[in-house]
Symmetry: C2
Subunit: 403 residues, 2 copies
């Protein structure tokens, strides 16, 4: 279905009834590193979390607090992941929720917690608590941007998006914020992202919509193939738009799914483009696959190939590495049917190379966004994945991150 | 079982009855780039090849020529992979076998072919044929080293190994050569490697021994997670040692398995240490796993983590990235039971960090070989994987490989 979106500003504070703040708690650096997002009314809430067996304490706590499908606040810090911190870590995450709840005058189970940063170090709780209190005092209708700043780690730009859609005369807004950069890989929420919306929707339907959106956005995103201990995507819907409550898969539900997906794709592409050391956004479209699942697998195999990513950084039209990744994707492709395009330029047909203009290829590869299209020619399904190129700076950033 | 090995020189020409040569065919560069290995008697032969759906022409041809379990010669070139080259590629591979057979006075089905280099370009057949004829004229009892030189691509050092074992008074020799560097990843032969031995063994038993050795060596090796279109490991056994022919899993068979494994592990470690841009060999031992398969999975997840590998390059004791990779390995580990050691230094216990000496950790990380040990504490099985660190130079080498 085609849905018309109006882009708007404000990120997570774009929808009605959401306030936010981001402050400097000085957890690791002298930057904004602690944020609070608050809905003035209790909200339906859903989340998708890392599939890593090693889950950070805040992930376990948030999963547990989401069982009832409702929440009213999110508290988040950067600079320390509170992962692999044992019982102390869980106590600290609980304390973050409790202090936030106290400040907001709500129950602690209504608070979701997220952390990002170095694994295996404990939170500096005194500074965290001071930070939460400060943030609570600064909550504002246009604080979304400060949260975007507070959750950045090696991100070089804050990541926010918001869209509005109409449902039978009612305007519904969806806003989101994300942080990405390294350790981005799917089969989970993929990174930290918080989405707010004023739509009126049942928790079960919100969960379904989130699953639809993630499958088409964050789960098709990879920066370095590492799946973090802390990845969390949370959505809160407070109902203040005033639409008829969505309780089934009607047209309004489908419109909402598209709006939510649009925000998630926008954030996912921002994350890919701002991958650690990235100089380019790479879009990999796989077409004519036997199933959407197969198309995804192929797209992600290419997106995860270090050899493809370094070639794109080097602006080298090495389509052989692309077909090689297609070949080991695990999908039963027919190598002799594969066509590969770089931008509009066809590089390979039926699995063998074509003569192509090196000059044209170089021009395509020198753009900010590089589009690779792979036609498997064994079906009708398609999927698009996003990644970035792989540069010296990825190594530089990650060679000495902890210290 | 404990087997005593005597290391010896000569690589693939160390065993009796093998001759080899490596020449400059000038396929891509002015270096030795074409090699021939020849057994003076027909040999039992077995191979393990890439699992990539996109298989280079020489791989398909060699697989087909190995069906009868015998071979007498190997012809190999670097500089061009002869992959994704369609029917022309298969004709060229056949031509390589035919010319070699003609020179050696044997049947073309007795020749195995291997190529490595850029994907999607056709072989310069005139130069190849001249090279094969030249090599055939130079075959010698100590030509193993020249083959090691001829198969190098981005390798910085030639890779050879040979060991001798005694079987009831008879000395049996196993020699091998390999090239690795980039695009090294298991579930297949992993790279190019040719192993020769003068043991007298039935083809079926040779196949079993190879499978045993690969499972403990090349399939536990990764450089960059990419599985090539050309990976081939071939072993030839010509029987000239004069031992009683091995037809069953007796003690001599087990001794041979260990000798073959020793050569393969030695070559695999050389490949890891010489991975593209590598500054260190990284050995990842996983212990106390529920099964060997699980231990392998965990070891390979850590070995494939770009974040672990960049941290080791940066000599940063970031054990959090190690446990993170353990967590997403797909094995049902218990995060709260995992212990992690860097060298002898225990970094984490029961999934949580310990206070450790940064100085000591830095010292361990500054060595040429870095040992990581992971105790899952949920079983008795173990496995060791090998990789290298991930440096600026990996990116540099791969950003502009094709042109």
């Amino acid at each position: 279905m085609t849905v018309e979106f109006t882009y708007t500003n404000g990120g997570v504070t774009a929808p009605k009834g959401f306030k936010a703040a981001g402050v400097k708690a000085r957890i690791k650096y002298d930057k904004k590193d602690l944020g609070v997002i608050f809905s003035i009314e209790p909200a339906a809430a859903a989340g998708v979390f890392t599939t890593n067996r090693v889950k950070a304490a805040p992930v376990s706590l948030s999963m547990s607090n989401l069982i009832d499908g409702t929440a009213q606040a999110i508290v988040v810090n950067s600079g320390c992941a509170n992962a692999c911190t044992g019982d102390n870590g869980m106590n600290d995450a609980r304390k973050m929720a409790a202090v936030t709840a106290q400040e907001m005058g709500i129950d602690a189970t209504g608070v979701l917690v997220a952390s990002t940063g170095v694994i295996g170090q404990e939170l500096p709780m005194e500074r965290i608590i001071t930070g939460i209190r400060e943030a609570a005092g600064q909550l504002s209708d246009n604080g979304g941007h400060d949260v975007a700043l507070a959750i950045m780690t090696t991100d070089t730009v804050p990541k926010e998006a918001a869209v509005q859609v109409e449902m039978g005369g009612t305007v519904v807004t969806v806003g989101g914020v994300a942080k990405g950069s390294g350790m981005i890989h799917p089969n989970m929420a993929t990174m930290l992202s918080f989405v707010t919306t004023d739509i009126n929707i049942e928790p079960e339907m919100l969960k379904k919509a989130l699953s639809y959106a993630v499958d088409r956005s964050f789960n098709l995103l990879t920066v370095d193939g590492d799946t973090s201990t802390n990845d969390s995507l949370i959505v809160m819907a407070n109902g203040l738009a005033g639409n008829d409550r969505i309780t089934q898969e009607n047209e309004n539900f489908l419109v909402f799914c598209e709006a939510l997906t649009e925000v998630c794709i926008t954030l996912a592409k921002m994350i890919a483009k701002d991958g650690e050391g990235a100089t380019k956004l790479v879009e990999i479209a796989v077409r004519k696959a036997p199933s959407r699942q197969d198309a995804r697998k192929v797209a992600m195999a290419v997106a995860n190939s270090n050899l493809v990513k370094t070639a794109i950084f080097g602006e080298d039209a090495n389509w052989g590495r692309i077909i090689c990744a297609v070949g080991y994707s695990g999908v039963e492709i027919d190598p002799e049917k594969v066509d590969i395009y770089l931008g509009d330029e066809k590089m390979a047909e039926n699995g063998a190379g074509l003569k192509f203009s090196e000059e044209k290829a170089k021009e395509i590869l020198s753009q900010d966004t590089v589009a690779i299209t792979i036609d498997l020619n064994i079906g009708e399904a398609e999927a698009t994945a996003w990644t970035c190129d792989f540069s010296y700076d990825y190594v530089k950033i990650n060679a000495d991150y902890r210290t």
